[in-house]
């Protein structure tokens, strides 16, 4: 055993030494974060899109062209499939890429460079797309870039680049008949919108997984569809019931007759409808005069959280006013305004009401200022049987203060009546009095329109309005308003 030990010791030492040498396990070095490659864009997205002029045609790109953009939308939620959208300062572009999980390589904010030579630009319903021209059984078509060729055509760059969202105030300002419009395929933000039907889900939850539209509207009545695929991971989510802002991709489908515009969401976090719906929520009562001040020639939206109160000075029962309209005067010697609802209302003469005019359009209809397109639920009855004391004035005074006294109740003394048709109230009857003339207008549908008017009266009470350039007064009921 003695001669064993030193030999053993040396052998063990030798082997363990060699073993240690080989046993150190090197961990793999992690790759660096991506940065921009050594490429420069030769064309802008707008210049690329300009190649495609005629809808449906497959335009091949023959020249060496490089466009670059920032990824603004990808397939992460499943709403988009095998496509991503990129934007630069000139516009946005849809890239067709045949792979799943594109969001893993092309997260929102990543800069990409697209080598367009050999690729093909076409459109789908007016939305320009970049893909590859293919011959499927002899028929040419545009197809997505094949999976293993994507890295050749689309070079990824740095991450977390800024993404531009364009704020759009009016839906009608969005262009839907020009494929080159820079907002097509781009991210837009709309403010103060809400879902029309809050019982719906974003898309089809059945096995068919169809793509479905859900409508959103703002308080002014502008509306647009949100189109969502049944395969998105939020297709079964109930739409939010509030009102607020939303970011979406603006797209069109031009072949449809109406409603060409549509929005595509990236995911539900783009929809921030957390505020009160139109006509609900806390409001501050403003003077009608203040609301009238908001108007300066062009239609304007009344600020959110505004309501007006007043007493109805028109009479729906005599039908001298459109069934959807009423004239509201805040109080004695206060201002008034025409209120137009979306449907025939139920308010009577003398009702004291409150109307929520948040987000409602303030405009002139034939020169008479009105707040319009108000849903009936926006108006609530406070109490019935109130009355306004009419302002006593001469025609001269009326003409001077017409704008301020529009839609308020006035009483004019000692008038001569003439004109009209065959001595009946119907139509325009001229009132002559101190300081001038004034037209008294009665609608044909009014209950008293075929009644004959007296030649002269002691006083007439009515509300002032304008029809284009003609100043008018309208009565509710000759029995009460015309004193002989």
């Amino acid at each position: 055993m003695k001669h064993l030990k030193p030999g053993l010791f040396y052998f063990l030492l030798l082997i363990s030494g060699i073993g240690l040498f080989f046993s150190c396990k090197k961990t793999f070095d992690e790759p660096a974060l991506p940065k921009d490659p050594d490429l420069k864009a030769t064309h802008t997205i707008a210049q690329l899109k300009a190649i495609h002029v005629e809808p449906g045609v497959l335009d091949s790109i023959q020249e060496d062209m490089i466009v670059s953009g920032v990824v603004i939308a990808n397939d992460k939620s499943g709403n988009l499939y095998k496509q991503i959208y990129i934007q630069d300062e000139t516009g946005a572009l849809q890239l067709m890429l045949d792979a799943s999980g594109l969001y893993n390589s092309f997260p929102v904010g990543r800069k990409v460079f697209v080598k367009c030579k050999g690729m093909c630009v076409s459109d789908y319903g007016g939305m320009i797309q970049l893909g590859v021209k293919a011959l499927t059984g002899g028929t040419p078509s545009i197809q997505a870039v094949a999976s293993n060729l994507i890295s050749e055509k689309v070079i990824g760059g740095s991450l977390n680049n800024p993404v531009k969202i364009t704020e759009v105030n009016e839906i009608r300002d969005l262009v839907d008949n020009d494929m080159q419009d820079p907002l097509l395929g781009n991210l837009i933000q709309l403010k103060d919108f809400q879902f029309e039907d809050t019982t719906k889900t974003y898309s089809d939850t059945s096995a068919y997984k169809q793509t479905e539209n859900v409508l959103i509207k703002n308080c002014g009545g502008a509306k647009i569809n949100i189109r969502t695929s049944g395969y998105s991971n939020f297709s079964g989510v109930r739409v939010p019931s509030g009102n607020g802002n939303l970011v979406a991709i603006y797209t069109v489908y031009m072949p449809t007759r109406s409603d060409k515009k549509q929005l595509i969401l990236r995911d539900t976090s783009d929809v921030q409808f957390k505020g009160f719906r139109c006509g609900s929520g806390p409001t501050t009562t403003k003077d009608i005069a203040e609301v009238r001040q908001l108007f300066s020639g062009a239609p304007v939206t009344v600020t959110a959280g505004t309501s007006i109160t007043g007493i109805v000075i028109s009479d729906k029962s005599t039908a001298n006013i459109n069934a959807q309209n009423l004239v509201l005067q805040q109080g004695n010697d206060k201002a008034g305004i025409v209120v137009r609802f979306t449907a025939a209302h139920n308010f009577d003469l003398g009702d004291s009401i409150r109307v929520n005019v948040s987000g409602v359009s303030l405009s002139e209809f034939n020169s008479t200022l009105q707040v319009s397109n108000i849903p009936l639920e926006n108006a609530t009855l406070i109490v019935k049987g109130k009355s306004i004391t009419p302002r006593v004035a001469t025609i001269q005074e009326i003409n001077t203060n017409f704008e301020t006294w529009e839609s308020t109740l006035v009483k004019i003394a000692d008038l001569q009546l003439s004109g009209g048709s065959a001595g009946k109230y119907s139509g325009s009857v001229t009132l002559t009095g101190t300081g001038g003339t004034l037209v008294m207008f009665t609608a044909t549908a009014a209950t008293f329109s075929s009644q004959s008017y007296p030649a002269s009266v002691k006083s007439i009470t009515g509300y002032l309005s304008q029809f284009k350039t003609t100043k008018q007064i309208g009565i509710r009921n000759p029995a009460t308003d015309v004193v002989q």
Partner: protein, 860 residues
């Protein structure tokens, strides 16, 4: 048929009569024959085993081929083991579980699949030279055994040749460098013997691109002889190994890569090749044995061994991301061929020229993980416990099997009056395998979540069902944490056997019988959401009572000519991996009352052992009945794993084995061998098809028309002819030519059902295409090896012993035939819509082209 292609080339010839192994002579001069054999061992040590998985089925195989366990010179078995193993020849077409291995009399096979884990002692060839091998149905002195072959390796320190040797070898197979050092003291006067052996096998990249090899083996043995009767031995051995593996791939990818050795498992990371499928194993063995010489003619050998440790295989795992495998069918040009031939052509061009398009894109995986900032709500089921960070979409997982093995064996050999032998033995084996998944690398992310994405996809509104562990829902895991499946399989086997062998002048005959009792059960360690009542805790225990009977006789015409005939009938319990449908998430099994596999075998032949001519001819006929198998694969459309549980598997193997060796002159020898076999599946199998991540049953009692399909992945015919020249000046050369034929591809059972050919006319070409089994063309190879032994001048003697320097070099497949398909499988998916068999083409493995092994050994 088990999908793992572990080649079990444990062949050798055994001396016909069973003598106890005598202690080797104290002579360090290597005989010429052992020179060749040692060399062959070294070569075979370096032939890799490729594990064949269509997906991530649990892989319990070891990673090395058995080296030639031969010290004999039988021409047939020498050819079978050495020349034919590169073509994955399996003797008689048997699976590896038909061959047993004992070390110091203790059984070593895994109870879970019957395979011998050779990889666990790879590189220790120097101490494994004492082998007692019986082939076929012959009796052994150490166990009842199985019908293929039975080997006992005596590694006891006192049985090792007293010698020191150091060797260094280079090669271009799965490892490139090997250094081995062995020192044995032999039994000294005080009764002590000591042996030490260590080896390092290393390659930065082996023959196949992306494969690396890193293994260190160690062996220590101590013997003490107490008095004259008791020999106590203790050994410890282990081979911690880590290697990058090769995956079977598609012809299309191999063509794009320009080589049959395309490996889809690796990709470049920061300029270095990184392999996603790395196997890491370290399972040391401790053996304690006792030999008791009761009397001069009676011996009692008792041994006990214990082994523990894990085998882990890594793979990419992903959650809601695109498939990261580079040969996924959607990334191939063929996917675009029909609709977009222009892009298909552009892809072929791009992929042939850019290697990165053909391999794993590691950068992409890291990027996906780094941009995925997410908040996980209610982690661990605690309300409000929200964690935010980069959630990995792709990780490197490890599928781990942590095994504990206890083996005990005692054998009494006694010689009766008249020279007859009586043997009795008792053994107990117990194994517990702990299967689980573990996060190996988060690939740039901060965490991963323990969810079943397949169940989540199927039941998006049910948050519980996607939990792998409902007791700890929404679990966050990081590097080194267990996730996913977690279960134990416990097996134990108790067996007792006895054997009588009788010798008379003209006739030797024997009779042996064995009875055994096996039990196994599953024990789930997590309760998962899909099968909450069938995943956690102990399952029902499966119990099997089995028996075996063996017998035979040898008629000795004279000292040179023998006729023999042997027969055996035995039953074996099915392996649990063929019985549990999807043990990862449930304890359902193929049937409640499992049947044992019935094996019947017969062999007979003639042996001639003349001084200038050796000849053997053997005929055999074997049937196996009532076997089971479970195949799993990932199905794209279902986005789920599909399990085929097959039952009623019967096989028949029959054929002839011939070998001869003639001395043409004193230096020239001619050897030849031929194996002609026919191995068929002999029944219509039944399939029960389930989807891994739902409770759905896709098919029940489906008939698989498998009758007369061939057993795949082995040449059913193999021939070799070799010529050797041995110079009296201690050098030799050998040239052998081999031919392989009747190689068949493993078939997809689903393609052989009524549904697959539904509506097709009887003789239509499409029907034939779908049903037929693919056969590969015959292949030939030429092998060369040679060696030289140089006895150094006496002045260099070490401690009075002469010093030898031995050189060996061998080139296998000298003509560089790279078309030998050694294995593979038809993909388990079938295109039922278009019946296009080329939509999911087979995955194939090829045998290496020309490869070499050269070694230099210093011995004294």
């Amino acid at each position: 048929m088990y999908r793992n292609l572990l080649v079990s080339t444990i062949f050798s010839f055994s001396i016909l009569t069973t003598y106890a192994q005598s202690l080797p002579a104290n002579d360090t001069l290597p005989t010429r024959d052992t020179l060749i054999e040692e060399f062959k061992e070294g070569v075979l040590d370096n032939i890799p085993v490729v594990s064949v998985d269509d997906n991530d089925a649990s892989d319990a195989s070891s990673q090395n081929v058995a080296s030639v366990l031969t010290a004999g010179r039988d021409p047939f078995f020498s050819a079978a083991a050495f020349n034919w193993s590169p073509a994955r020849f399996r003797m008689r077409g048997y699976d590896a579980d038909m061959f047993t291995t004992f070390i110091n009399g203790i059984p070593m096979e895994n109870l879970d699949n019957g395979f011998t884990p050779f990889g666990l002692w790879g590189g220790l060839n120097d101490v494994m030279r004492n082998r007692d091998i019986t082939v076929g149905l012959r009796p052994t002195s150490f166990g009842f055994g199985d019908i293929g072959s039975n080997t006992n390796i005596d590694v006891r320190a006192s049985k090792q040749r007293k010698q020191t040797s150091f060797s260094y070898a280079i090669s271009n197979r799965n490892y490139r460098h090997r250094a081995m050092l062995t020192h044995s003291t032999g039994l000294n006067k005080q009764g002590w013997a000591f042996t030490f052996s260590g080896s390092i096998r290393y390659a930065d990249e082996g023959y196949v691109p992306g494969t690396f090899y890193d293994s260190k083996s160690y062996f220590l043995a101590v013997d003490k002889l107490v008095g004259q009767k008791h020999l106590f031995s203790f050994s410890v051995l282990g081979a911690p190994t880590s290697n990058g593996r090769q995956g079977a791939s598609l012809k299309e990818m191999q063509q794009l890569a320009g080589t049959n050795f395309y490996n889809p498992f690796w990709g470049y990371q920061n300029g270095k090749k990184r392999n996603a499928s790395v196997a890491t194993t370290h399972q040391p063995f401790f053996l304690l044995s006792h030999e008791f010489r009761i009397k001069n003619n009676a011996r009692l050998n008792t041994g006990i061994s214990y082994s523990f440790g894990e085998r882990a295989v890594s793979a990419l795992d992903w959650y809601n991301g695109a498939d990261p495998r580079p040969d996924y069918y959607r990334y191939l040009p063929s996917h675009y061929e029909e609709d977009d031939p222009l892009q298909a052509a552009a892809m072929r061009n791009a992929m042939s020229n850019d290697i990165n398009l053909r391999q794993i894109k590691w950068d992409k995986l890291y990027l996906a993980n780094r941009v995925n900032n997410e908040t996980i709500q209610n982690v661990d089921g605690i309300a409000g416990n929200n964690i935010t960070g980069n959630r990995s979409r792709y990780i490197l997982q490890e599928r781990v099997i942590n095994s504990n093995r206890l083996n005990f064996n005692t054998v009494l050999n006694s010689q009766l009056i008249g020279g007859h032998n009586f043997t009795w033995g008792l053994s107990y084996q117990q194994q517990k395998n702990h299967y689980f998944q573990r996060v190996a690398d988060l690939l740039g992310g901060d965490f991963y979540v323990d969810l079943n994405q397949f169940a989540e996809r199927n039941f998006p509104n049910n948050p519980n069902i996607s939990q792998n562990n409902i007791d700890q829902p929404n679990r966050i895991v990081k590097k080194g944490d267990q996730y996913g499946y977690n279960y134990n399989i416990n097996i134990n086997k108790t067996a007792s056997w006895m054997q009588f062998d009788f010798k008379t002048a003209k006739l030797d005959y024997f009779f042996a019988a064995e009875a055994s009792y096996t039990q196994f059960w599953r024990e789930g360690l997590v309760r998962n959401g899909l099968f909450p009542n069938n995943s956690f805790g102990k399952s029902a225990t499966n119990t099997f009572y089995n028996f075996g009977l063996k017998g035979g006789l040898t008629y000795k015409i004279n000292g040179r000519n023998y006729f023999y005939a042997n027969a055996a009938t035995l039953t074996k319990p099915p392996f649990f991996e063929n019985v549990y449908l999807a043990p990862r998430n449930r304890d359902f099994q193929q049937e409640q009352d499992l049947k044992s596999v019935a094996v019947n075998s017969f062999e007979g032949g003639y042996i001639l052992n003349a001084p200038n001519l050796k000849f053997r001819a053997n005929l055999y006929y074997t049937t196996t009945r009532n076997d089971y198998n479970v195949l799993s694969f990932f199905h794209d459309d279902y986005r789920n794993f599909v399990n085929y549980a097959l039952s009623n598997i019967n096989k028949v193997h029959y054929g002839a084995e011939l070998g001869f060796e003639t001395r043409l002159s004193s230096t020239l020898t001619l050897t030849g061998a031929a194996a002609l076999g026919r191995y068929y599946f002999d029944s219509r199998q039944k399939a029960f098809i389930t989807l891994d991540n739902t409770t759905a049953i896709l098919g029940k009692d489906e008939t698989i028309y498998s009758q007369n399909y061939r057993v795949p992945s082995t040449p059913q015919e193999a021939y070799s002819l070799g010529i050797s020249y041995r110079s009296p000046k201690f050098w030799f050369v050998n040239l052998t030519a081999n031919y392989f034929d009747q190689m068949w591809l493993d078939f997809n059972p689903i393609r052989r059902t009524d549904a697959a050919v539904d509506g097709l006319a009887d003789k239509s070409p499409l029907r034939n295409d779908i049903l037929r089994q693919t056969q590969w063309a015959g292949q030939y190879t030429v092998d060369f090896f040679g060696g030289y032994s140089w006895k150094l001048p006496a002045t260099m003697n070490v401690q009075g012993k002469p010093l030898f320097l031995v050189f060996n070099v061998g080139v296998n497949n000298l003509l560089n035939n790279q078309q030998i398909i050694t294995g593979g499988f038809e993909q388990l998916r079938f295109d039922f819509d278009d019946r296009n068999i080329n939509k999911f083409p087979p995955r194939l493995f090829y045998g290496y082209g020309a490869n070499y092994f050269a070694s230099i050994t210093l011995r004294f």
